[in-house]
Subunit: 116 residues, 2 copies
Amino acid sequence: MAPTLDTVFAALADPTRRAILSLLLEDDMAVTDVAEPFEMSLAAISKHLGILSRAGLISQERRGRVVWCKLEPGALREASVWMQGFGQFEAVNLDAFEKFLEIEFAQFPGRSAPQE
Amino acid sequence: MAPTLDTVFAALADPTRRAILSLLLEDDMAVTDVAEPFEMSLAAISKHLGILSRAGLISQERRGRVVWCKLEPGALREASVWMQGFGQFEAVNLDAFEKFLEIEFAQFPGRSAPQE
DNA sequence: AGGATCGTCAACCGTACGGTTGAATATGCG
DNA sequence: CGCATATTCAACCGTACGGTTGACGATCCT
């Protein structure tokens, strides 16, 4: 399944996957480290990473035992272009963005917003 | 279900629903008119409109027999803000947007891109 | 080699999705 | 009133999703 608007938006429609993307905004991470803040099984996180990967939102590279996950923000461009056609949004409001990240992460135990 | 990033992205993850939004970019429309370009049943379109409505992407107002559907582009703002945090996208490229609309609409019979 | 760690695969479960059809509910019109 | 139009509701079907558990294949370390 090639990355399409379908797969990108579907991938973004899950709070766990959005939280994973926020994590990867900090830094590249191994699958195990991505899974650490979440209360679900490693296998579940692995599935989520597969969905993000097939959507083109992250890339995964195996080095030894460890699979490194890297954010690929470029995949959001098509989706962003599509959305922006529906309204004139003001320039990026980073305060609003950080607030969103905090809200998104409030539900996950053991950590606050990822950017600190 | 209040409009959230979950519901907005999930609503956008379906090509029929994106095509409906593109239709409504032209003008407000009755449910029957929204359904006309599509090959599926009216009930299916009604369901899609319900999903778009609950996501806050459209509003529906009954006037007499007719339910008028209106694009509510403001609901995309939160989602747009969220996405833009992941990359610096250039200003809106309207050419690219029109190209997307054409691709999106190529699959539906009896009409070309909605903006003409 | 042997054991621990990293990650995925496979099978399963419950629920939701996208679609259908047919009946039901309004509303408008002659 | 009585019929046509507009829209939704309800029940159903097949498939996919989000999660689990347990087994499996790699890789590193001693």
